[in-house]
Symmetry: C3
Subunit: 361 residues, 3 copies
Amino acid sequence: MTFLKNTWYVAAWAEEVNAEAMLARTILNEGVILFRDAAGKAVAMRDRCPHRAAPLHMGSVKDGVVQCGYHGLQFDGKGACVFNPHGDGNIPANAKVKSYPVAERHDAVWIWMGEAGRADEALIPALDMARSASATVVRGYLNAPSHYELMTDNLLDLGHTAYLHPDSLGSEAIVHSTRQTRRDGDKVVYELWAPDGDAPPIAQMLVPALCAGRVDHWMVSTWHAPCLIHQVTGFAPAGANREGAEVMNGFHVLTPETDTTTHYFHALSRGFRLDDPQLDAIIDGGVTMAFANQDFPMVGAIQRQLSGPDVGDARPVVLSTDAGGVMARRVLQQKLAQEAETAPVSAPAQVQSVQFVARRD
Amino acid sequence: MTFLKNTWYVAAWAEEVNAEAMLARTILNEGVILFRDAAGKAVAMRDRCPHRAAPLHMGSVKDGVVQCGYHGLQFDGKGACVFNPHGDGNIPANAKVKSYPVAERHDAVWIWMGEAGRADEALIPALDMARSASATVVRGYLNAPSHYELMTDNLLDLGHTAYLHPDSLGSEAIVHSTRQTRRDGDKVVYELWAPDGDAPPIAQMLVPALCAGRVDHWMVSTWHAPCLIHQVTGFAPAGANREGAEVMNGFHVLTPETDTTTHYFHALSRGFRLDDPQLDAIIDGGVTMAFANQDFPMVGAIQRQLSGPDVGDARPVVLSTDAGGVMARRVLQQKLAQEAETAPVSAPAQVQSVQFVARRD
Amino acid sequence: MTFLKNTWYVAAWAEEVNAEAMLARTILNEGVILFRDAAGKAVAMRDRCPHRAAPLHMGSVKDGVVQCGYHGLQFDGKGACVFNPHGDGNIPANAKVKSYPVAERHDAVWIWMGEAGRADEALIPALDMARSASATVVRGYLNAPSHYELMTDNLLDLGHTAYLHPDSLGSEAIVHSTRQTRRDGDKVVYELWAPDGDAPPIAQMLVPALCAGRVDHWMVSTWHAPCLIHQVTGFAPAGANREGAEVMNGFHVLTPETDTTTHYFHALSRGFRLDDPQLDAIIDGGVTMAFANQDFPMVGAIQRQLSGPDVGDARPVVLSTDAGGVMARRVLQQKLAQEAETAPVSAPAQVQSVQFVARRD
């Protein structure tokens, strides 16, 4: 399976990356370690010693220098070997660990898995994920048991919430909602308008006063290729033309871990009830309930159905509610085709076995 | 691996299939759901929504209508989509779930996995598995960890009972028994005659008075292709020419689940001690002991040996005790060859990946 | 993956093999049973009945005769069928179990997996692994989660002890030690000299009086192809020219189990504190700590890195500390090439599926 390489992926939330310990995370099938160098800058490199392929995360990090746990080779934040305790101490020319461009923005650590020369920080989407004086953000990490595109389909199709999440996100009003999907350059925008109904259960907990009566409920999801969805959710008294609305900004950031699993970074930013830990806990619990306990088993089961012997009919039914996912897949196909065209000519990619009987430096 | 398709398989015992919940069971590598429609008739269909391949058993069933748990599409007992809650509510032409012919007979629900037009209920073997005023039946379900033919070999070879089941079914008399195997049309009949010996342990518990002295013990197993064995077991006082015999009818019904696992439906029907729950428990415990704890580990280990790197000698030794299994395999080969010849010309069967970027209905 | 076949491997410690029960062990991907015949001689044969491939270890052994647990066929210590309880009792010509040459030496049971005619006991290395009046031996068995060559590399590179085992085998003196590696015929000899330092933690427990002051510490490891390392470890007061030294003999015997796992037989023989069970326990605990808890996770992780999608750079860095492993791999390559040249012409090796519909003897 092919992933887009020349793009920024979220590798971690800022607070997951620190100077005292390495964070090991597989991204696009590559083992990566993340930590902070002596200046506090987040860095990323392959989780693999160039000597004997030991995972570097089994060693230690100190003052921005990683020491391999097997033989004590030391590497700086750029992956250069800075100490060899064996023999005459010479450092072999190929004693280098691959490092990756990293940028820290919106409280997230972004990684560029493709050609380093093309890693332009201006390509990181302008978002409002960070905490601020006027915004409280509840965020977290979950591991989703499917290819990330099955999760994109899920997130760009809010019609499913009425059926899979009736106890949190769904409502009868969503069943009868109006939905529109459009492409906006490389973005896909999905709008749902569910007027004059009972608010979904989660809203009753978030904005109870507002939900005492009937509400207008809307959601606008904007997909940024390859795998970030910004979702604005609003509630207002029914018929008030969005007067007195409460609005939240949700962020669903998917980073491919392997062909069959996905890192799922979620954040919900609100401008009301800023200092309310109980509300934070309700939001966090709702995410676990809806995503980990309902979406994940469903998309995991679908993935198993699609990859098993029982693949069945190759002509899936496509409904209006799928429009967002279909558009996003098309944009992605175009970007993948473009990347394939512009890829530098390289040596044959994959080597099946590594012989340790090799030249000796 | 190829399974015979145009034949009836037992999918469930009657009491396993009901109107309030779906029973999900994989049969011949296909995921199937079973439930009862509004009229109480058992129905079966693919466990797979034609929209996004969600397992339908993750949804709900009510009044004979299945609702997909992901997007709320509804299907009747024939697999026709009867409700689409999205967009204009039109039902796409290909929104159909494959359904299977089902028949309820002998307290079992039978399924036909092949061409529906050939599903003739008259082909269901005439058996006496059902409970009645004159017969108490102890029955159950186990999952066997092997291809079903390894279980057929086991069940048509009663010589193994003396070695693998000395504490229940086996006896010294079985070691010295006379055995005959013959083909009777498409059936295979195996007869064992163990005269003038001590009864096996299980018989001592079932018919203790009779087993106080030496007994004549016989078993007649009749195999019905592809995978049902009817086994008559009798005990009589030694030399009495079967006068005063107690006879039981055992049914061993195998339904392929996958290439490496088998549904095992077992039933033992008796005409004596009809209302004796303690005896029922003894029988049920004996089945667990002999089948689940002794046969299954053995056939599971054999399957692993045959599929592992250590496959070894391709010329297995065949003994007289294998005659039943060998004959049954020959009949099955003929039936499979016949089925391959008469199969309708169809489009290339299997598709490896399903693209959700498809036409939109 | 190819293993050297015409060589002796340790299959078990002598005390693991007895007359009352079979020891089942996979060696070079072949399932093997080991037991003692009526004369007390250790014997080995395939763990697989020639009738239906049942693992023989699921049966029983008595007076040197193995009885299959499925159908009661009996085999003597040479693998010849000596009893068939079925039909007329004739023994089919192909009712033979493959047996292996076995030799018992140095308290170990050695097996020859190649051509039986070439199994010369004189090829077993002359070692001092056995218990005696002047030597106490602590020995045991562990299962290592890697191909055996990754363990050979580990054992022939004592430079890693300072980093992976600082709490037992490693020391600052080892970091600064002198190491020399040389080939001696088919053997590889590795010498480490760590003078005038603090003794490693394990030595403090083994020879505390000696370790009160600074010590000279040396290790000489001799690799015998394909997979046995004899390691002499010595400690003496610093600068005493090895006067007053305490010396131990360690044996690390690797036998390939599968392509990805290894039997690891370890023994440490000492000539001091002979009757000291507490010391025995310290040694045994140290082995568990250093090997099972530190080496195994590391080599297991390396093996996963090398076989996963993330294989990365095919030009591993080789350091001076790897010289022993590199030399041993070269000797092994030569021996494998030699074996391939002299292998007898044989029928096509592997059969994928065994049909039980076969001729009947």
